[in-house]
């Protein structure tokens, strides 16, 4: 469980870290849009997206190995969908056939396409979480969702719920590890038996975990009450997010990326 580093904040002082969180969220969305814009048959746009990732990573002072570890969490999904495409896509020309297995060029193409797409999106999203602490992300979301106040959406409460949830993920992971160990010491066996048996073996872990989550929630609520927390009414912020020239640079770069992708699509669409 410790190996899942996807989405863990990586503190550093860098250009990317110092960007406004709301801006980074918008840029991440824009990046995903750019990835989706890449033409299905001409992959050059992907190269541009990848270049963007590399440059951003360098500017964020994040070790490149971190990118790999963020990918590790989705390896299964990626391999699964690629295999599905390769073996079951029946459109296009058959390039390989053996008994009942027929592999088509379109199948291989789509497999690569989907794989690269998922990987880029995962890496892009994890760049956001690597460079932005959970609290900042929640604050950034709150700012972005502010217009929803008009339709009485409880934006502040929503952001608070988000940041509390994010804050408790590592705590609950630790707790899970602890309880698993305690039950193992009493002979619990999580590794053998069929799927039903294994699911049943989890009960002694899940129940204490739930109880402790409720206990923590209770304690937190009490602590907030004791500090006179009263929702979104007239709250000021300790850390005020500001916009700066750097954020403009971010927008310009991403605008460039999208434009580049669209251009590459069109360019090759015309030539080939």
């Amino acid at each position: 469980m410790k190996d899942i580093t996807f989405g863990q904040y990586f503190p550093a002082k860098s250009f990317v870290h110092s960007l406004n969180a709301s801006v980074k969220i918008l840029l991440t969305i824009a990046f995903i849009v750019a990835v989706f814009l890449v033409n299905q048959y001409y992959f050059l746009g992907f190269a541009l997206c990848f270049l963007f990732i590399l440059i951003t990573t360098a500017f964020a002072k994040i070790p490149f190995t971190k990118l790999l570890s963020s990918v590790r969490a989705v390896v299964f999904i990626v391999v699964f969908s690629a295999v599905l495409q390769v073996f079951f896509n029946k459109t296009g020309k058959v390039v390989f056939s053996w008994r009942f297995i027929k592999i088509t060029d379109a199948g291989v193409y789509t497999a690569i396409y989907i794989t690269v797409r998922i990987l880029l999106i995962v890496i892009g999203a994890s760049l956001l979480t690597y460079t932005t602490s959970p609290v900042e992300i929640a604050d950034g979301l709150e700012f972005l969702l502010y217009p929803l106040k008009v339709i009485r959406f409880p934006v502040h409460e929503f952001a608070l719920i988000m940041s509390i949830a994010l804050r408790f993920i590592p705590t609950l992971m630790n707790e899970t590890g602890r309880i698993i160990k305690a039950q193992k010491a009493r002979g619990a066996d999580f590794e053998s038996g069929n799927i039903f048996k294994r699911a049943k073996a989890l009960i002694p872990v899940l129940i204490p975990l739930l109880i402790s989550a409720f206990r923590r929630a209770d304690e937190l609520a009490d602590a907030m009450d004791a500090r006179c927390y009263a929702g979104s009414k007239k709250r000021t912020k300790y850390k005020k997010a500001t916009f700066s020239f750097r954020d403009a640079i971010g927008f310009i770069t991403l605008g460039g990326l999208i434009a580049g992708v669209v251009l590459l699509n069109g360019f090759f669409g015309v030539i080939v």
Binding site: A182, A185, R186, G187, I207, P208, I211, S212
Partner: protein
């Protein structure tokens, strides 16, 4: 069963630059059968990491030492951890949070059903009854209660019953006294003393309560930075108080008293248990008078 630990090292998050942590560093320790063994040390000195090795909850890392417990060689790939865990009971810190079943009976019986496959209902009941009585409950009153309606101290006793129910030879406890009131603590200590030597042969206990350690353990090991800083009888360990205090630990009350009296020119020599201290002091005091 004797526990023999040789050159044990353990590194957390070996492959990560920022999380890399050497929690145990060439640790050597032998715990004899029949010991009431105390482990003390500042936070983060590796005590919990160490004891979790003893029943295989933390596996040995390659080429980082060996542990032999009775016939079990933990560095052997074929070591039967299940059998080992039935011999070595482990009570975790805040063990009351591991309860999960609908009734106290079922919760205590959990270990029995895991370790003794094919045991009859009647035998199970016998074992559970034994364990609950041992930790000071009235079996008929407690067995059908929900563990969640008990007080914290009671829950902890149920959790311990759930561990000793399978009659382990060695019982390991990680800071079991934390958060108990004086009465609960007293009851808990006499429970341990009662079990020791009869129901469980060896007790290993981590505690920050020096008075308890000094009063009850026959051997004490001081952990510091993943190593054994010092090991011996309470007298040997606590005699030179300065070095323990510099490690961020305290001394048992009797050691403070002996040191204080020494400064006033009164030398009292005891094994640092309250009883022995009082009798030595009285002897000395009366001797002065004469």
């Amino acid at each position: 069963m004797q526990i023999k630990v040789n050159d044990l090292s353990y590194i957390y998050s070996e492959n990560s630059k920022d999380l890399y942590y050497k929690a145990l560093n060439n640790l050597n320790l032998t715990i004899e059968e029949g010991d009431f063994f105390g482990i003390i040390g500042h936070t983060g000195s590796g005590k919990s990491t160490f004891i979790q090795h003893l029943n295989g909850l933390i596996g040995l890392q390659k080429d980082r030492g060996s542990i032999v417990i009775g016939d079990f060689d933990l560095s052997d790939k074929k070591c039967d951890y299940r059998a080992l865990r039935s011999k070595i009971g482990m009570v975790f810190q805040y063990s009351e949070y591991q309860l999960f079943a609908e009734t106290v009976f079922e919760d205590v019986a959990f270990g029995v059903k895991n370790f003794f496959k094919g045991i009859t209902e009647k035998e199970t009941e016998e074992l559970v009854k034994n364990a609950l009585t041992m930790v000071g409950f009235d079996y008929t009153v407690i067995k059908d209660k929900s563990p969640f309606e008990l007080s914290g101290g009671q829950k902890r006793r149920v959790a311990i019953a759930g561990v000793i129910v399978t009659k382990p030879e060695i019982l390991i406890l990680d800071e079991p006294l934390v958060g108990l009131d004086p009465k609960g603590k007293g009851e808990f200590i006499s429970l341990l003393k009662n079990m020791h030597g009869k129901d469980v042969k060896t007790i290993i206990i981590i505690s920050h309560d020096m008075n308890f350690i000094c009063e009850n353990c026959n051997r004490v090991a001081v952990f510091s930075k993943g190593k054994i800083f010092k090991e011996g009888t309470p007298k040997e360990v606590f005699n030179n108080g300065e070095e323990l205090i510099s490690l961020g630990l305290e001394l048992p009350l009797t050691a403070y008293l002996e040191n204080g009296l020494k400064k006033c020119g009164i030398t009292v020599e005891s094994d640092l248990s309250v009883e022995d201290f009082v009798s030595s002091y009285t002897k000395r005091y009366k001797g002065d008078k004469v």
